[in-house]
Symmetry: C2
Subunit: 276 residues, 2 copies
């Protein structure tokens, strides 16, 4: 997002997959952990340890429920002593919707979910981009270069004669900021819908199909139909489903169940890039 | 070994590989950790956690340097609460050659190695097997069945007439007990040679080739030639080399370097079974 790299969750083997995919990590500064179940956390220590061997120097920030720092302290201390970079933990409260990260171009919010332990998803929002300059008008009014940045942000221009040129004559609308929401693991939970309303892309877990509705409820996971229902009600652009139970050998059945409710659904698969 | 299953070291992704290979773990009761570097340990927590989800009930024994229990306590406590089985840590001193495990048919000894942290290999030895009964002689002397177990272990037989039948007339030699030694990670270290003398199979690390002899020494690893020299001097049956540096894209070069010294060498490769 905006040429930045973020990681959400870090299960065992994450660094192995990244090596297989030849993912460069020099722009990875922030990792967001949705909840403290092993399959979302166990890859962290290996990733950090390997970053040390690769002589990473930039700080690595981990955003997670407050318990994680305490749990990771002993293995970090023992296995990663003398790291050439700092690991900085940022605790957030998984029970409230709040801003967990912000920089010049991106904001990231938590999305409280409904699972067996405190869990939240994450909403990635680009900040508004600059408006596009209309070159000919800039030339026509002989606007000096130093005024351009403000005009891109919406300022009007006053000529030497005192004429006010409204911004709309000088610029066109900026590209729409992109929004992506990640929701895993969670039972069907309508409270997230207003938070993710209209995102360009939603990743939502779909551990089961509707034939396992009761098991989904008991384990606080979702079915493919439920994921698609959230996508439909939140009016999202595209839905990616994932986190499938191993019982489903034919994942197209999950896809079809979701597509029956929300057509623009794709399967989330290992080692695959998704654009939106 | 003797129909038993042991694990040596447990790096990140071990459980994933085991699932890929469809390895059943119901006979896995003991794990031996050679040293406390992450690439030999980071898979433990995920393995234990998954055993819990699979409802394993048999205790799991982990043999390692004493620090491991303390390091793993917080993540075990947090991520594996309410496990349906016990995880039992057995501390050993990696600096001495000692018996670390024994049961009715197998003994396992530590082999102190030379590495950047206290490290040891492991020597797996089958106990002597029973002698083979010569059926016809048992019939000839009308030896009752309840005497057979002792005779298999070497006892003579006394007939009702008081005649002593020596064991050698009743049995033939047992199958030779098998011995396997695992040595990783280590610099070239001649002190291990008497400990592994004559093993049927030796696994020895070969991180580098001789072109990186200085780097091998600095990082306390071995070259393929050095691994083969140990195998030759210890008069082992078969050598498996492994733990190769990622710099060697053509592993046959490592193999050839070793074979020039010790012919019966094979490459240790992922997801491969070796018999000896």
């Amino acid at each position: 997002m905006r040429e930045k790299q973020f990681m959400i969750d870090c299960g065992e083997g994450t660094q192995i997959r990244m090596r297989q995919m030849n993912v460069k990590t020099n722009r990875l500064g922030h990792i967001f952990i949705s909840h403290l179940h092993g399959d979302h956390v166990f890859g962290l220590i290996g990733l950090i340890s390997s970053f040390g061997m690769l002589n990473r120097t930039a700080d690595l920030h981990i955003h997670a429920a407050p318990e994680l720092e305490k749990i990771m302290e002993p293995p970090l201390h023992f296995f990663c002593e003398g790291l050439p970079f700092k690991v900085v933990f940022h605790a957030f409260n998984p029970k409230v919707h709040e801003l967990v990260y912000e920089d010049r171009t991106v904001q990231i919010y938590s999305i409280p979910l409904k699972h067996r332990v405190p869990t939240c998803g994450f909403l990635f929002e680009e900040k508004p981009r600059d408006r596009h300059i209309i070159r000919e008008m800039i030339d026509f009014y002989k606007i000096p270069i130093w005024r351009i940045p403000k005009i891109k942000q919406g300022d009007n221009f006053e000529t030497e004669e005192g004429e006010i040129v409204p911004n709309e004559k000088l610029t066109t609308a900026p590209d729409k900021p992109k929004r992506f929401a990640y929701c895993s693991d969670t039972a069907y939970y309508e409270k997230i819908i207003p938070l993710i309303e209209g995102v360009d892309c939603l990743y939502h877990e779909a551990t089961f199909m509707d034939d396992e509705l009761i098991r989904a409820k008991n384990t606080q996971h979702s079915t493919a139909r439920q994921a698609a229902t959230v996508a439909l009600k939140a009016n999202v652009g595209k839905l990616i489903i994932g986190h499938f139970s191993a019982r489903y050998t034919n994942k197209n059945e999950l896809l079809n169940e979701a597509k029956a409710v929300f057509e623009n659904t794709v399967l989330g698969e290992d080692m695959t890039l998704y654009n939106f």
